[in-house]
Amino acid sequence: MIDPEGDPASGVRPVRVVAETTTDAGTLHQRLLRGERAAAAILFDRHAPMVERLLLRILGSDSELDDLVHEVFVRAFESAHRLRDPDAFAGWLRRLAVCAAMDLLRSRRRRRRWLWFLPPDEMPEVEAPGVDESTREAVKATYRLLDALPVEDRVAFTLRVLDGMPLASVALACECSLATAKRRISRAEQAFLTAARAHPALATWVTDRHADRHSEFDDRGDA
């Protein structure tokens, strides 16, 4: 839990969070609409880890991850008045995060298209302690392959396969129908596996035994 007293060194006014876990979503939402800073702090404390994890899943280890988390919360606080059901705050925040990630990926793609002569963005090193070199390489390779997929397919795939999100939630987060979400995941899965078999860092993970496998999400019980 983040210290609710804030960061005195930064000059930001300390916020005392009282009974943070017991404040219900509706009250928090009302307080947020009234411009109460403490409500914003509580909402950040509650949902920031989820947003951070979600963006990390979609983007991988990315230098703009923190900026994006910041942007998601700023967007959320600015447009909190549009939220009709305060209990749906988490889902709404998830959708905002997905939208922000998709915007970032699209803008990068546009930049690559127009500024093709510049060197490509290098994936930052995965600095997770206790992770061996081959796994790090595999993770990096995974996101490099995902970069080649259409943005919509990539996001649906990462939410479903890497984050294990239920299909309905994927469709909701991607603002598409369930059928579209399934189609995107299936398409991304096939493209990813094809590319992974040819990639040295992932070839060992994707062996021939995968050749006759069925679509992953069909076996998860919620298709």
Partner: protein
Amino acid sequence: MTPLDTIANEVATTQDNLLAHRDSLPALRTQVLRSFDRREAKRTQYLRRALVVAAVFGSAALLVTALVAARHRARPLEVVAVHDELVPMSVNHHDTPSTATSQTPHPSETSDLREAPVDPARESPPRPVRAPTTRSVPIPKYDSPSPRPIDHTPTPATNAVTPTARLDDESWAQLAHKGRFNEAYALAQRSGFSNLCDTLPARDLVTLSETARWAGHVRESRQPLLSTRARFAGTAEAAAATFALGRIAFDDSNDAREAIEWFTTLLREYPSGGLSREASGRLVEAYVRVGDLPSAKTHAERYLASYPTGPHAGLAHRVLER
């Protein structure tokens, strides 16, 4: 477990491991809250500005409304008059800009009579009658031929007024001529208003009606006019009184139906009198006001046939276009 699951598990484990060792959320929290503060400050600033702008515009709107209302109240009934020595009665003539000078014992006082806008769709509430800033202006000369002979000779009733009554009448009439209508009306009441209605000559009856009207007693102002109609039937004064009754109903009582009756009566009794044109135009207005469009169109056609360039011609055309 499929190879894809294996990769997914590895990626998820690696990233969870990474998340567990990341410590950027506290700093992010500070940044987010700082952005929130800035946004709130900006919003408060916008709100304050919006309030100031709203207050300024609201005050301006109130001021303008008050000025318009004050001007509307202060303006005497739109009157255009043509002098007639026999009947000093003011009459509305719409869309007829002119200036008339009183030839009464107060020659220095003139009335600047301007064009009155005609808006038949407007349902104005009964307007309190205020004393005019200048003297009321005499009515148009009633010199057109009429199916009923109009007798301009003094009636026996005029001659029947006793010298004593004459002296009292002069005192309230003098006050009325000075524009002190409230005092004049009070004095007339003390002298016996009904008695005056029964005894005064036609000209003074009109003055009495005007006095009551400007003193704010619209209902009482009808009595001298009704008396004029009863006592001097067939005369120009009776025609003017009929028109005045219609005008009071139309303008002061906001009773368009009663106005229709009086104007119709006037046109029936004095179809070619000097007030016919104005009564015909008012009739169109009154029918529009009560929402009787077919009748309004009928009278509009009649009006245009008789007075194609009359002051109500524009209104008549608009009514026919509906």
